[in-house]
């Protein structure tokens, strides 16, 4: 197979770039394992066969094509899917600032199709360069479409903070299931004390989440409220009401103590 792609080592940088554009669009035969394989995966197979200089050229050609997209916003979804995923595979981290700026530039980002917008964000998730604050700023742009990728972006830097994204997740089961699986596996790795704290935080957050999230997490978070909460007993309700009243009284005389009482009132 090495000889099949030797022409790339022998050609110019410009020829390599032309080949790359065709390859990213699937318009040239590539070493694909199956005909429906994403072109970027096959291009990475070719990359492994190139000499050092040609690999460098491939890296810079990919970088240039992404920069062009950032400037113009142009390209078919299929082409951009492969281009941005190739940039991830080649770990062209220099592209992160310009992609992050693009995502925060409504005049250009807003004109991209939602799947392309999500591609840009997915690329940033894989680069792991953006802080949770960046992801929090992205969420309001389109919570329904971006909550999954925002969850992932925050999770990659701080799994604990990712819990706060749960209340924005859509009701689509695959998105919720993925978030649930990732948080569950992370919690499984924690020390018992940290684990109990994380579970308590989840219990506190879940009531503000949609029913799909409550149901999915209710299956593994101890004591979590399920999608259809079991009615509280009259005794529990009265007790919580009493604590709540007490809390209001204490607020007037001792605010720190009042905070503790409020938490007690919210406890299941």
């Amino acid at each position: 197979m090495t000889s099949d792609y030797a022409f790339l080592n022998e050609g110019t940088r410009q020829q390599l770039e032309q080949w790359l554009v065709r390859a990213l669009s699937g318009q040239t035969p590539l070493p694909r394992v199956s005909p429906d394989e994403f072109p970027y995966l096959a291009i990475m197979r070719v990359e492994g066969l190139l000499d050092k200089q040609t690999r460098r050229d491939l890296y810079s050609a990919c970088q240039q094509l992404v920069s062009e997209f950032v400037r113009t916003g142009k390209g078919s979804e299929e082409y951009l899917h492969s281009l941005l995923n190739l940039a991830v595979k080649l770990q062209i981290l220099e592209l992160a600032p310009s992609l992050a700026q693009l995502a925060q530039k409504p005049e250009l980002f807003g004109h991209l199709a939602v799947p392309v917008q999500r591609l840009v964000l997915t690329t940033l998730v894989e680069f792991r360069t953006q802080p949770p604050a960046f992801w929090q700023s992205i969420l309001p742009l389109n919570p329904d479409a971006f909550a999954g990728v925002v969850f992932s972006g925050v999770f990659s830097r701080s799994p604990k903070q990712a819990m706060t994204v749960l209340q924005h997740l859509p009701t689509r089961t695959p998105v919720v299931a993925a978030a649930s699986g990732r948080l569950r596996r992370w919690i499984d790795t924690l020390e018992p004390t940290e684990r109990r704290a994380a579970e308590a935080e989840l219990r506190q957050l879940l009531p503000s989440c949609n029913e799909v999230v409550r149901e999915m997490f209710g299956k593994w978070v101890p004591g979590a409220i399920s999608a259809n909460p079991v009615p509280q007993t009259q005794r529990q309700t009265k007790a919580q009401h009493a604590v709540s009243l007490l809390s209001k009284v204490i607020k007037q005389i001792n605010p720190p103590l009042q905070t503790s009482c409020s938490r007690l009132a919210e406890a299941p």
Binding site: M1, P29, R32, D36, R45, G48, S152, R182, R185, K219
Partner: protein
Amino acid sequence: MSCYSDTLATLNASCRACVHSYFSAPTTDPKWAQIIDNIKCETALQTADFKSLLERFVGELGDGKAPMEAWQQACRQHQRKGATVDAAVLPAVLGRAIALDQYAALLREASNGAYDERSALDLLLESEGLQQLASEDNAQALAAAPLGKFLVWATFSEQAPSQTPFPKTDYSSIEILTALGLGQFPSDTQMILLTYQVAKHGSCLDLHRPTVADADLFPYYRPHPNASHPWGYTEPLPPYPCPFPPQPEVVHSDEARSDRLVLPFKITKL
């Protein structure tokens, strides 16, 4: 069904001359040469579809596209035109081998990005060989992943069509790549072997015999010479150490999701 030369005769003179000149011209690209060879040996397309495919190719060339791009565009307008596999001989389960990275990417996309690449891969690696996934969230996330993109190629067991075509405990990547005629790639390409149901919840996949149009620019496809056979066959590649019989192959649309999976799935060893 019609062969290439019969179809060529049905084209108008200028179209015929154009097709003939492109497909007869010498080429230094062995993959393009193989694709042309496949076109000339195709038997599974109806004359009208084959004619339309070649006319479209000429049209795309006329729009200024390079031959391979023109061929690809024409192919994409003529996929799943091979005969539908008759219900009487429909296998109950299919199998497909795809790169592990590809399936992880499909899983990531089905989650709208809630999985990143690493976590999607971890889920697959941890779930290999399990008769049931470890948790319900894993199962529900996986169920949404498409079994392929655009057009799905699959195989099955002719001897036992209700059983997985991957019955062994372990497979190596090189064994699968060469046995299924998928290409001669570095053996570090890890593959996932999926088995899935053709009929599920009252919805049955439409299976078609593959054609050159389905193969697009994939040069490892080989047309089966028997025009009336219900499905195609792979051509095993060297260097598989012992003779391996050609495996049946069919194509279907990418609407199928992983809720059709029959567990366990397997991951090839390097």
